[in-house]
């Protein structure tokens, strides 16, 4: 399954390891900032993996959009909400075990299903990068409608985000929040 005679396997394995470890940090770290940085690692690893899988454009989009923009947003969020930046024992709730069991069984099941069905399919595209031009053709040709729609979604999200987070917004129906 894993042919370690090929260098690409080594690269991929290392990237996978990075992703796994960073992902683990994201969900277990007691420090919020560390968690966010863990996500950076995971995303960077993913970008690398995409490069291996010859999806250059997506890889760079990932780096630019996610690591560049989204993560910054997250850090802002963490700081504004004054989340405890240091060590925080209380970051996890008391459903850890159940969550772990659920996630674990999900992992076992999906990997079993995936390996059972696609385990031996070869990755043909390695070393044959998809041309960004082709992607652009598709995106602005066949998928132009969804593309436009997505831009609307983004716009709506933008406006929505501003509206919701507006400082002078009247605190929405305080009476409704049951206390």
């Amino acid at each position: 399954m894993m042919d370690f005679t090929e260098p690409v396997t080594w690269v991929a394995s290392i990237l996978g390891l990075v992703i796994a470890i960073s992902g683990f940090i994201v969900v277990t770290s007691k420090n919020l900032i560390h968690a966010a940085l863990g996500l950076v690692g995971a995303l960077a690893g993913t970008a690398g993996l995409f490069l291996v899988l010859s999806a250059e454009f997506v890889a760079w989009v990932l780096v630019l959009v996610y690591i560049g923009a989204v993560l910054v947003l997250f850090l802002f969020g963490i700081m504004i909400t004054r989340a405890p930046v240091g060590y925080d024992v209380d970051l996890d709730n008391d459903r850890k075990v159940i969550a772990a069991v659920g996630a674990g069984s999900l992992f076992v099941l999906t990997s079993f299903a995936a390996l059972d069905s696609f385990g031996d399919t070869a990755l043909l595209g390695i070393g044959d990068p998809t041309s960004t031009g082709d992607l652009a053709d598709a995106l602005l040709g066949r998928f132009v409608l969804p593309f436009e729609l997505v831009s609307f979604v983004l716009l709506a999200a933008l406006i929505g985000g501003i509206t919701v987070a507006r400082k002078d917004a009247t605190p929405i129906a305080v009476g409704e929040t049951e206390e």
């Binding site: 008391d94 459903r95 075990v97 159940i98 659920g102 099941l109 999906t110 079993f112 299903a113 059972d116």
Partner: protein, 691 residues
């Protein structure tokens, strides 16, 4: 392409006709619809009218009477047999539900009886009910009552018969409980409905058994199969077992409506309703339904279900004698008449079970008039003295002469005094019993005649003779009430003429007229197997008359003079039987006990199982799941010691948290449930995929 209208109008055969008939018969459905139209009209406009809707009801009954008379005359002249059915739905290819109407001797006789008695009783009610509560509703229900009975007697199939049958029950429930502010009255209504409903189980199961086996609800088809031993139609399921079982079940249904022992217990209580209701119920509608059903299905009992006859005769004989005895000890004048009705219904049932088709119907016919007369007379008396109890009456013949004389005629007819109507019909029953060889039953019937005469004399003596014991001033009723009484009295005198056996003097027979027998026999199934002597049998007539006269004589001796208290006199008369008769053979107590057990312990037990067993199982599942989660958490997270400690802190406290917990409003728990669901789905896919 069959659209809605076509589908509603014309799938399969739409309307089927049998027999012959002209426009008169074609339009006979009008008399079935008229009461229901009246029902709606009275509810809608009744309040604004002078008699609060009574006019509409009387007008409707006048129409029914007129049309019924026309039909009867036509039937007598042309011996018409007409039947028309309109399909209202079908199941599969075979069973068809229909509304239909029959015009033959039997049903037109019933139309006539219902129309005549109904018209007179409705008119009487205009006077009797004046100033009472909720008259609009009363007249509406009254119309419904008559309409239901007409639907019943007109039905060409058993399904429609059941419809009319139960509608009669509901209308009686409404009318008996008319003064429902008093719980006793609404309970009486419920008792009537409930007893009838028990009997209806028999009717429904019996009707289904017969109809499904034959493959048709039409009475005509069922009887055809029954009379030809199942050969004429393709009815492979029909056999003597089904025939006898079905016949007995139908009889059970008839026992309820026609108040046969021991299902008669509702009828005396039904006196809680206004008197016109009692009159109509006892004379023309409701109680005659059972007898009518037996008559309608007569060929079945005659041919294939002869095995059912002994049971029917036994029940009828028990009814006619035992309930007559109870009438002896009643103080309420209406209850005396009620038990008398039950007893007379016993006569009819015995007759029809013995094979006397015409005899039973003849008695039904005459009884309708004189019993309506008696009830209306009793109502008039009650109206005059404002009490139901005979201990509050006495000496009324001076105050209410018209009521008195008509009541005397009615009593005489009931007792079977020649030449009043009751004599002829009772004699015909005795003749049938004699001919068919039921000697024991014959003697019971003669003894019953004695009892009948006895209690009627008692009632007349206590009400109209002696001295007045009530309060206030008794007065004769108004014309709206007394005119119907006189008309009914006229009928009670002459109704016997429709079927006179004739008097034989030497070789000459005079006054023989058997038209009634011929009209009733106009169906295809004649001969109906009943026996008609060539003339009145002097011997039997003598026994019957002797019993009646004896009853009157003894009754007169005992009751014509005042006594100190009513109870003392009754106890003296019949010392041993008195307590058991007062208790009505304890049947009411048995029934009440049974209902009590069902309504009390049985129902509570079922409810208990629901709350404490089924609910607890369900709740336990829920709590157990919550508890399990907690235990897993404790074991894995808090160490086993802690877990045991927490677990032993009581399942209840843990479980208590669960209910609230599941509704935490915490998104993550909801998300968790989602994940679990997704996992389950994947498991399903994996398992089935690997198959």
């Amino acid at each position: 392409m069959t659209n809605l209208f076509l589908a509603l109008a014309s799938e399969g055969e739409k309307a089927v006709e049998f027999g012959s008939g002209g426009q008169l018969q074609e339009w006979a459905w009008l008399i079935l619809v008229a009461p229901f139209v009246a029902y709606v009209l009275i509810l809608a406009y009744g309040k604004k009218l002078k008699y609060e809707g009574g006019e509409i009801a009387v007008g409707m009954m006048a129409f029914v009477f007129g049309y019924g008379l026309l039909l009867w005359v036509d039937t007598i002249r042309n011996h018409t047999v007409f039947e028309k059915s309109i399909e209202i739905g079908r199941v599969g290819n075979g069973m068809v539900f229909e509304w239909g109407w029959v015009v033959d001797g039997l049903s037109s006789m019933m139309y006539f009886v219902v129309g005549t008695v109904g018209l007179l009783v409705f008119t009487y009610a205009l006077g009797y009910m004046k100033g009472e509560r909720r008259n609009t509703f009363f007249y509406a229900s009254f119309s419904l009552f008559a309409g239901a009975m007409l639907v019943l007697v007109a039905s060409a199939n058993l399904a429609q018969l059941i419809v009319g049958w139960e509608l009669v029950g509901v209308a009686s429930y409404l009318l008996i409980g008319h003064y429902w502010e008093d719980k006793a009255n609404s309970s009486a209504g419920m008792k009537a409905f409930f007893t009838n409903k028990v009997a209806d189980v028999g009717l429904i199961v019996g009707a289904l058994a017969l109809s499904v086996s034959v493959g048709s609800f039409r009475i005509k088809d069922i009887l055809e199969v029954a009379t030809t031993n199942g050969d004429s139609l393709n009815a492979p399921y029909f056999g003597s077992t089904v025939a006898v079982a079905g016949a007995l079940l139908l009889f059970f249904g008839a026992m309820g409506k026609s108040a046969q022992f021991p299902l008669h217990i509702w009828l005396p209580d039904a006196m809680a309703g206004p008197t016109p209701v009692s009159a109509l119920m006892h004379a023309a509608t409701m109680v005659t339904a059972g007898i009518y059903l037996m008559a309608r299905m007569f060929p079945l009992y005659q041919e294939m279900a002869t095995a059912a006859r002994p049971i029917m005769i036994a029940v009828g004989a028990a009814t006619l004698f035992l309930t007559g005895l109870i009438a002896l000890v009643q103080d309420d004048i209406k209850k005396v008449l009620a038990y008398s009705t039950v007893s007379q219904l016993g006569y009819m049932m015995v007759a029809i079970a013995a094979g006397g088709y015409t005899a039973a119907l003849f008695h039904l016919f005459t009884h309708a008039f004189f019993k309506a007369l008696l009830f209306l007379g009793a109502g008039s008396v009650i109206h005059g003295v404002h009490s139901n109890n005979m201990s509050d009456m006495g000496g009324l013949r001076k105050y209410m002469p018209r009521t008195f004389w008509t009541f005397i005629i009615g009593s005489g007819a009931l007792a079977g005094i020649i030449p009043l109507a009751g004599f002829f019909s009772k004699d015909e029953i005795l003749g049938t019993l004699d001919y068919e060889g039921y000697t024991a039953v014959l003697w019971i019937a003669i003894a019953g005649a004695f009892v009948t005469a006895f209690y009627m004399t008692r009632a007349v003596a206590l009400t109209f003779f002696g001295s007045y014991k009530g309060h206030g001033h008794p007065h004769e009723s108004e014309g709206l009430m007394t005119v119907p009484l006189m008309i009914l009295a006229g009928f009670s005198v002459v109704a016997g003429a429709v079927n006179m056996a004739g008097f034989k003097f030497g070789e000459t027979i005079v006054l023989r007229y058997t038209g009634f027998t011929e009209w009733l026999a106009t169906r295809d199934f004649s001969p109906l197997g009943d026996h008609h002597p060539e003339a009145l049998e002097w011997g039997l007539a003598l026994y019957g008359t002797a019993a009646a006269v004896g009853g009157i004589a003894i009754g007169w001796m005992l009751f014509s003079k005042d006594a100190e208290t009513q109870e003392a006199r009754d106890r003296l008369t019949i010392p041993v039987l008195y307590p058991i008769l007062r208790a009505k053979y304890y049947l009411d107590d048995v029934a009440l006990g049974l209902v009590g057990v069902i309504k009390g312990p049985a129902a509570r037990f079922v409810d208990w199982t629901n709350t404490y067993i089924f609910d607890t199982i369900v709740n336990s599942f829920g709590f157990a799941a919550g508890w399990l989660g907690k235990v897993v958490y404790n074991v894995a997270d808090q160490g086993i010691i802690d877990g045991i400690f927490n677990g032993s802190a009581g399942v209840a406290s843990v479980a208590g948290g669960w209910l609230r917990k599941i509704q935490t409003g915490k998104i993550q728990q909801y998300a968790g449930a989602l994940v679990i669901g997704a996992v389950a789905l994947v498991v399903g896919f994996v398992i089935f995929n690997s198959n």
